[in-house]
């Protein structure tokens, strides 16, 4: 049992290390703080939505504060949860992972603070119109719905801020290589750098959309904008953004969960290959979000579908590798049989349990995602509540519950305070799993009954009786998650303020059964992979983008909320 405990282990060296990384830890902590404040506010609106579906309208009592009702709440829910929460958590987490894995501080701490400063300034600038109901355009902000320019400018600053972390990482890698010329890049740092590289490449889409289309248009410098071109640029970033959310989770599943399970990572080479494949394949597939769009040819949609199935492959590699690592842990703890080893895993450890439960729901999320990616089968589910059900399994559970699980060891590590209640954390993980399982299952079902997503169902004139029979379960799931969230925040606040000052727990870095010595060296050389990635992007996007730019129309903006 002792091997799997992440808390309570103390060595003098670890304490000294923490001193070296004081600035990095402060930055990580601040990013996590912003992230979880955003999740708290955004999540609250999720509960209101589920209640509204069932005819309980809690928007009226808050109307003096938020005039926009359901749709303003929906905009806050989406922007705060999938854009703000994820981005801030990831930047904090990857700052930590890169510096601890390479064993060196940020190359430029000033740049580290600038990263956080630019992102936070952007968040505050975007928050203003959101709260004033001047940016009720949801997190996809499809024109010609026209928000206050501050909304677009603020979001752009958040994205530009994230780019600065990659600059820091590249400088750190250079320093590290100079000091360790023959060594392989440690796997966690390798993955953190691949993640940020993929992210910077894919954000060229939304950056171009903001700088060339939306910002000049919202400022009144051009008379209109082209909605199809804007959507195409949005989804250029909008699909790979899901890998920007997932890869940091995979970093935890590959590099920390095996250690927490009491075992080792099964295969370092397989893990490196899967991340290189994500780097290459994440971006040239964005049009699978546009299967039902006019203005884009079926052939390019099919090409993107094929590449989307290609990116399913590294996901399957990850599935195998992570489960094999868990099995390695289960057997190391005395587990036997084909499947009985599962019961030997450290299920009393909340960080471990939260992340394994996240994996289980993610398996269903992945299967659903394959259905969504399936070209014409997508016609059955596109823009129905099925899709909302789907991404609450992926970003809402695989990502969010894993991030919560990470904080169960990371926050004690950063603050030097013991987790206030591991039992409460366990209950939190299980209630999130059950609540989301219920919520998501019934959202999928309602989607198959054509219930549209992003719609104030409770205010519709035509609610189908078949929907009414299933809608209460959506609220049941949401309320269970609400309870789970209260347990999470209570535990975290008590940990930070009243947690027992304790020895700093070690970072649970995992070793591998088949280590980096089995990985081809070419995997650590980013150049050839970047060339392939750019080539595929040009092939898959250039013809459509060039045509759309040449046909560009200026459609005037409208504020219809």
């Amino acid at each position: 049992m002792a091997t799997a405990r992440v808390s309570g282990v103390s060595i003098a060296a670890e304490r000294a290390e923490v001193g070296v990384f004081a600035t990095e830890y402060r930055l990580t902590g601040l990013n996590l703080l912003v992230a979880f404040i955003a999740l708290a506010i955004g999540g609250l609106f999720g509960v209101l939505q589920a209640l509204q579906y069932n005819g309980i309208d809690l928007y009226k009592p808050i109307a003096p504060v938020l005039r926009g009702g359901y749709y303003q709440g929906l905009a806050l829910h989406g922007v705060l949860n999938v854009l703000v929460f994820t981005t801030f958590f990831i930047i904090g987490w990857l700052t930590f992972v890169t510096s601890r894995s390479l064993g060196i501080p940020l190359a430029s701490r000033a740049l580290g603070w600038t990263t956080f400063g630019v992102m936070t300034a952007g968040l505050l600038i975007a928050a203003l119109p959101l709260l004033l109901n001047n940016a009720t355009v949801l997190f996809t902000f499809y024109p010609p719905l026209k928000a206050d320019p501050l909304f677009y400018i603020g979001l752009t600053l958040v994205v530009v801020g994230t780019w600065l972390l990659l600059i820091n990482q590249v400088m750190m890698l250079r320093q590290w290589r100079a000091a360790n010329p023959a060594a392989r890049i440690p796997l966690p740092a390798f993955m953190a750098i691949v993640t940020m590289t993929m992210w910077v490449i894919c954000t060229f889409g939304v950056a171009a959309e903001m700088l060339f289309l939306l910002i000049p248009w919202s400022l009144g410098l051009v008379p209109g904008t082209d909605p199809v071109l804007a959507r195409t640029l949005f989804w250029f970033t909008g699909h790979p953004i899901v890998y920007f959310w997932l890869l940091p989770v995979y970093i935890s599943w590959y590099n920390f969960v095996p250690q927490q399970a009491g075992g080792r990572l099964f295969s370092d080479p397989m893990a490196r290959v899967s991340f290189i494949l994500f780097l290459i394949l994440s971006t040239p597939i964005g049009m699978h979000h546009q299967y039902t769009d006019p203005g884009i040819s079926e052939i390019w949609k099919l090409v993107h579908a094929i590449f989307t199935f290609g990116v399913f492959f590294p996901s399957l590699l990850t599935f195998f590798n992570v489960v094999a690592s868990l099995e390695n842990g289960g057997r190391a703890r005395g587990g036997k049989g084909w499947l009985v080893w599962v019961f030997s895993l450290p299920w009393r450890e909340p960080s471990f349990t939260a992340q394994v439960l996240a994996m289980i729901l993610f398996a269903f999320g992945g299967a659903g995602g394959l259905i969504n990616a399936s070209y014409n089968i997508n016609l059955v589910v596109h823009n129905t509540s099925w899709v909302a059900g789907h991404f609450h399994l992926t970003v809402g559970t695989a990502v969010t519950l894993s991030f919560m699980g990470i904080t169960y060891w990371l926050v004690p590590h950063l603050t030097g305070r013991r987790l206030w209640s591991p039992m409460m954390a366990l209950v939190q993980a299980w209630t999130w799993f059950v609540g989301m399982g219920i919520f998501s299952h019934w959202m999928h079902m309602l989607g198959l009954l054509s219930m549209p997503r992003r719609t104030a169902i409770g205010a519709m004139r035509e609610i189908q009786p078949e929907w009414e029979a299933l809608l209460p379960m959506v609220a049941v799931g949401a309320i269970i998650m609400f309870v789970s969230a209260i347990l999470y925040y209570l535990n975290m606040v008590l940990t930070i303020t009243a947690g027992k000052r304790d020895a700093v727990p070690m970072v649970p870095f995992a070793r591998a059964v088949s280590g980096p010595e089995d990985s081809p060296r070419v995997l650590d050389n980013f150049k050839p992979w970047l060339v392939i990635a750019f080539t595929l992007i040009v092939i898959n996007y250039a013809p459509t983008l060039i045509r759309l730019v040449s046909e560009m129309q200026f459609i005037p903006g409208i504020r219809s909320w």
Binding site: Y71, Y142, D293, P294, R454
Partner: protein
Amino acid sequence: MNRKYLGYLFEIAWILPSVAVPIAFLVAIVITAFAVGIAVPGNVGRVDPKALNTTPPFDKPGLRELAPGRYEAVVTAQLFNFTPGELEIPAGSKVTFIVTSRDVIHGYKIENTPVNMMVIPGQISRMTTTFDTPGEYYVYCHEYCGGGHHLMVGKVIVTPAKTASANR
């Protein structure tokens, strides 16, 4: 056997189906899309949303019979309704929906059919389907378009085939 090679064997046993299964799915998709004809919308062409009232076919929204049992439904979407709001179609007929938007992005999904399109100002959306079963089919705008989005619901009424033959 060396443990490491046993590990490689497991990896290969996983990788082969991981390649084969997605390929099998893709083959099935391509067959249904291009041989069975369950197609997604494509690039039909552009239209000026400010000039819809003078641009055929959107100057006359509604249902047109092209040949016996073959129809074309021209629809415009705007905040927060469809024109026409209701379409009456005889059972058994094959209908091509041609839809565009006057203002912002809308959706056009007819329940229990494959018709599921984004409706984007400046673009023409087109899909074809056959209605076999009489009944009322709701048409949902399934993209957030503004404060009244949830009120934006249309209807396709499929009348029994008998009426259809009487019409001919």
